[in-house]
C-alpha cells in the first residue's frame, strides 16, 4: 500500500505544552483523511509539521517518500490552506495567484485561470481581494492550493466562512480531486463534512491521535 504521509512517533513540545504526543499517522495515497478534534487539540500543529513549517521535537514525517527536515525542507507538490488565507488586499485574485505561481514556476496563465474558475470565482474580475468576503477568500485559498496541480492537499478548516452552496461546491470539488488521484488531509469541525468526504478519520485530543475509522 502506498502512503502519501507517514508520521512516526511524532512529538512536538512548546515549553511546558506537549502539542503532539507520539503521533502515528498514515494517509493512503489517493484518499481523503479527516482530522477532527477540539480547538487546541493539535490538529493545526500536526499540519504545520507535515508542511515543514515546524521542526519536530522527536519522530519523523515522510511525505511522498521524502523525510521532512532531512531529505527536503518543505514537501514537494503540496497545496496548503492553514488558518485564514493571506493575500495582498490591493490586488485582484488573478494577480495574487500569478505572484505565487511566479515563485514556484509551476503554473502558467491557463492553470491559474482554470484554478480560479474551478472554485467559482471570476479570473477576469478586477475586484481587489481586500473587498472579498471571507467565503470568497476561502475559495481563492483553495484555488492557490490547487493551481500547481499538487499530489497532496493539506486543508485546515477549508469550509470556514463558506455559505451552504459554497460548502456543497467545495465538497464536490474535493471529491473530484480524490477521483483524480489526489491525496487530501482535511481538518474540520463539521461531522457532516467528515462523513461525506473522508475515507479515514482520525481524532486529536490533547496532542494524542487515535484512528476512528
Amino acid at each position: 500500500m502506498n502512503y502519501s504521509i507517514e508520521a512516526e512517533q511524532v512529538c512536538k513540545q512548546f515549553k511546558d505544552n506537549l502539542a503532539l504526543d507520539n503521533v502515528d499517522l498514515k494517509v493512503e495515497s489517493g484518499s481523503i483523511c479527516g482530522l477532527v478534534g477540539r480547538n487546541g487539540s493539535g490538529k493545526t500543529v500536526l499540519m504545520k509539521c507535515i508542511c515543514g513549517l515546524m521542526p519536530l521535537t522527536s519522530g519523523k514525517i515522510i511525505v511522498n517518500g521524502k523525510t521532512i527536515g532531512r531529505d527536503v525542507e518543505i514537501p514537494k507538490s503540496v497545496g496548503v490552506i492553514i488558518e485564514t488565507p493571506g493575500f495582498l488586499n490591493s490586488f485582484s485574485a488573478y494577480s495574487n495567484l500569478k505572484f505565487l505561481a511566479d515563485i514556484s514556476g509551476k503554473a502558467d496563465k491557463q492553470a491559474i485561470r482554470a484554478a480560479i474558475k474551478s472554485v467559482g470565482l471570476d479570473p477576469d474580475s478586477k475586484k481587489h481581494v481586500g473587498k472579498y468576503s471571507l467565503g470568497m477568500r476561502q475559495r481563492l485559498g483553495l484555488a492557490q492550493a490547487i493551481m500547481e496541480d499538487p499530489e497532496l492537499l493539506i486543508l485546515d478548516e477549508p469550509m470556514n466562512g463558506l455559505d451552504k452552496d459554497g460548502v456543497q461546491d467545495m465538497r464536490r470539488y474535493l471529491l473530484d480531486l480524490k477521483v483524480r488521484g489526489k491525496t487530501i488531509l482535511i481538518a474540520s469541525h463539521s461531522t457532516e463534512d467528515i462523513d461525506i468526504l473522508c475515507d479515514a478519520v482520525c481524532e486529536m485530543d490533547k496532542g494524542k491521535l487515535s484512528v476512528i475509522r
Binding site: 515543514g52 513549517l53 521542526p55 518543505i74 503540496v78 493571506g86 493575500f87 505565487l100 515563485i103 514556484s104
Partner: protein
C-alpha cells in the same frame, strides 16, 4: 536560474505591499518634509549671500547629527517587522522553501535600504530645484556655509545644515553623492539585518528595533562636539553614513573609507549567515503566524 528568479519574486512581493502600507507613506512624507525644510533653509541662505544654491547637497543633507537621527529612525520603522512574515508568506514558504524565502527577505532588506536612500537623494534634488543652479560644481553657497557654519545658524531659524569644507575639497559633487549613498545604503542594510537577526533569534520584535535605535542614538553621542567621544566613532557604523566622519587620505582621526566598507560588508555577511542558519533550523511558527 530558477532559484534566482524565485528569490527575486519573493523580494518583489514585499515591495508590492508598500502600496497599502501606511508606514511607507508616513516615512515618505517625513523624508520629503526634511528635504524640503533643508532646501528652504539653503534657499534662504542663498538669498542672504546673493548666490545660487546647488542641486547636490545630498552629501550634507544629514550631516548634522540631529537630522541624521531623524532620517535614520524611519528606516528602523520600515525594517521593524523583518523578516516580514505574514499570512501571505505561508503560501510563499510552502512553494519556495525556507532557504529561498529568507534569501528573498535578505535581498529585500538590501533593496529597501537602497530605495530609501535613493528616495532621500531624489527629494534633495527635487526640493532644491527652485533655489539651485544647474551645474556639476559645488557652486558658491556650500563653500560659503562651510566656512561660516556658526554664522549661518544665526541667519536661518532652525537651520541644521552643516557643510564640511573637507568634503568640498576632496570630492566632486557626484562622487560625494555616490559615496554618501554607498555608505548610507550599507549602513541601512546592516541596521535591517540587525533587526532581522534579533527578531528571529529572540522572537520579540522590540528587541531588534531597540538595538538598532540604540546604535542610532549612540552615534548622536559620538558625534556631539565637546564630549570628546570622537575616537569611538570607529565603533559606530551609523556615524559613517556621512563623509565628514570618514577619513580620506589620512588627514583625520576618523576611520578610513576602506575600513568602513570592510566593516559594513563583514557585518552584512555575518548577520546574513546567522539569519539563514537560524531560519533553516528553527520553527517558523513564531515568525510567520
Amino acid at each position: 536560474m530558477k532559484c534566482v528568479r524565485s528569490v527575486l519574486c519573493i523580494c518583489i512581493q514585499n515591495i508590492r505591499k508598500w502600496a497599502y502600507d501606511y508606514r511607507v507613506w508616513i516615512i515618505a512624507a517625513l523624508l520629503f518634509f526634511v528635504c524640503f525644510d533643508n532646501s528652504a533653509s539653503l534657499g534662504e541662505l542663498a538669498r542672504f549671500y546673493g548666490v545660487r544654491s546647488t542641486l547636490w547637497y545630498f552629501p550634507f543633507a544629514y550631516m548634522s547629527f540631529h537630522i541624521k537621527i531623524i532620517v535614520t529612525f524611519p528606516l528602523v520603522l520600515l525594517m521593524c517587522s523583518a523578516p516580514f512574515a505574514d499570512a501571505n508568506n505561508l503560501f510563499i514558504i510552502t512553494r519556495a522553501g525556507r532557504t529561498k524565502w529568507i534569501c528573498g527577505q535578505l535581498i529585500y532588506i538590501t533593496l529597501a535600504s537602497a530605495i530609501y536612500y535613493l528616495f532621500i537623494f531624489a527629494c534633495s534634488v527635487v526640493t532644491a530645484m527652485p533655489y539651485a543652479e544647474f551645474s556639476n560644481e559645488w557652486g558658491g553657497l556650500l563653500p560659503t556655509i562651510a566656512y561660516n557654519n556658526q554664522i549661518t545658524s544665526n541667519i536661518v531659524r532652525n537651520n541644521f545644515i552643516v557643510v564640511s569644507g573637507r568634503v568640498l575639497r576632496c570630492f566632486t559633487p557626484l562622487s560625494a553623492c555616490w559615496f554618501t549613498f554607498l555608505l548610507s545604503w550599507l549602513n541601512g542594510t546592516v541596521l535591517g539585518l540587525i533587526i532581522c537577526a534579533c527578531n528571529v533569534a529572540f522572537h520579540r520584535k522590540y528587541i531588534g528595533c531597540g538595538i538598532a535605535g540604540f546604535l542610532i542614538v549612540l552615534s548622536g553621542f559620538f558625534e556631539q562636539e565637546g564630549m570628546g567621544w570622537y575616537r569611538y566613532i570607529r565603533f559606530s557604523p551609523v556615524s559613517w553614513t556621512t563623509l565628514d566622519r570618514v577619513d580620506v587620505g589620512g588627514m583625520t582621526e576618523y576611520p578610513s573609507f576602506y575600513y568602513c566598507i570592510a566593516v559594513y560588508i563583514a557585518l552584512i555577511v555575518i548577520l546574513s549567515a546567522f539569519i539563514i542558519v537560524h531560519i533553516r533550523n528553527s520553527s517558523l511558527e513564531k515568525e510567520v503566524f
